[in-house]
């Protein structure tokens, strides 16, 4: 292994972080929307 490992480490770490953050944001967006759908359906039923 040579001295350029820091660039390699940063590159691969950034890809991992970006993928994890993007995936988490999609999951959170889905959960928020699912809750909103449920709430709107409850309101619709009660009317």
């Amino acid at each position: 292994m040579d001295g350029n490992l820091i660039y390699l480490f940063v590159g691969y770490s950034l890809i991992w972080v970006a993928l994890l953050v993007y995936n988490q944001s999609l999951v959170r967006r889905q959960l928020k929307l699912e809750r909103e759908v449920e709430a709107l359906k409850r309101v619709g039923r009660s009317q």
Binding site: N4, L5, G11, A18, Y22, Q30, L33, V37
Partner: protein, 228 residues
């Protein structure tokens, strides 16, 4: 919806496992390249993200055409989802490229044809997402995005061909019709990484589509509540 969600979750775990295997192939299985040394290992995921950015924008192109022909919202949903993922992959290409260039070329960036056309590609699809959000009315938004998605795709073959059309610093393709300039172990690591990222793209696309459909459902329910 639950059942579909569990399939997506299973695919997500499978992709995560494949990413770990890919890391093993990149850092342990593939040999160190003689000229560049270990930094050449950046190549595997750099190419995998680039390939999937192209794939994502190709999907935007096809879905945009389908939308213009049919007017069906479902194609628009796939197009916008794919564009967002394509922008993310292109961003990663534009980050890993300079991180590879700095130790090898001694510079972070040069206005080489491949680099410049890739940056333009990124700007095109960021504009696609920004302008799309700025247009009012779902149908106008979708129609505008479809036209933009079709025209924007013109840059993808230009990016691909740029290393053949113009002399620059970016390396030539390693897999061409005249041969493969990689050792068999490197080729295995590359192919596995590209396939893993393609599965990752499919997983993210399904997740993004699910979110967009839910947003549509929320919109419909709100509309119904207003009219009730």
């Amino acid at each position: 919806m639950r059942e579909r969600g569990s399939w997506r979750l299973a695919l997500g775990w499978l992709v995560a496992l494949a990413l770990v295997v890919s890391l093993y192939l990149v850092f342990v299985y593939a040999p160190t390249e003689r000229t560049m040394g270990d930094i050449q290992r950046m190549f595997y995921w750099h190419v995998a993200t680039a390939w999937n950015a192209f794939l994502a924008f190709f999907v935007v192109f096809v879905m945009s055409l389908l939308y213009l022909f049919t007017g069906s919202r479902r194609w628009d949903i796939v197009a916008v989802s794919s564009a967002e993922i394509g922008v993310m992959f292109t961003t990663l290409v534009l980050i890993t490229g300079p991180l590879w260039a700095r130790p090898v070329w001694g510079i972070w960036w040069t206005w080489d044809a491949r680099l410049t056309t890739t940056l333009i590609l990124w700007f095109i699809y960021v504009a696609y997402l920004v302008l799309r959000a700025a247009v009012e009315g779902r149908e106008q938004q979708a129609r505008f995005a479809a036209v933009f998605g079709i025209i924007g795709f013109v840059d993808v073959p230009i990016v691909y061909m740029s290393i053949h059309w113009w002399r620059g610093q970016h390396p030539e393709a390693v897999i061409t019709t005249s041969g493969i300039s990689l050792s068999p172990e490197m080729l295995v690591a590359l192919i596995f990484s590209v396939l893993t990222f393609t599965a990752l793209y499919a997983y993210l696309l399904l997740q993004r589509i699910a979110a967009e459909r839910l947003a549509d459902e929320v919109g419909k329910l709100k509309e119904r509540a207003r009219n009730a």
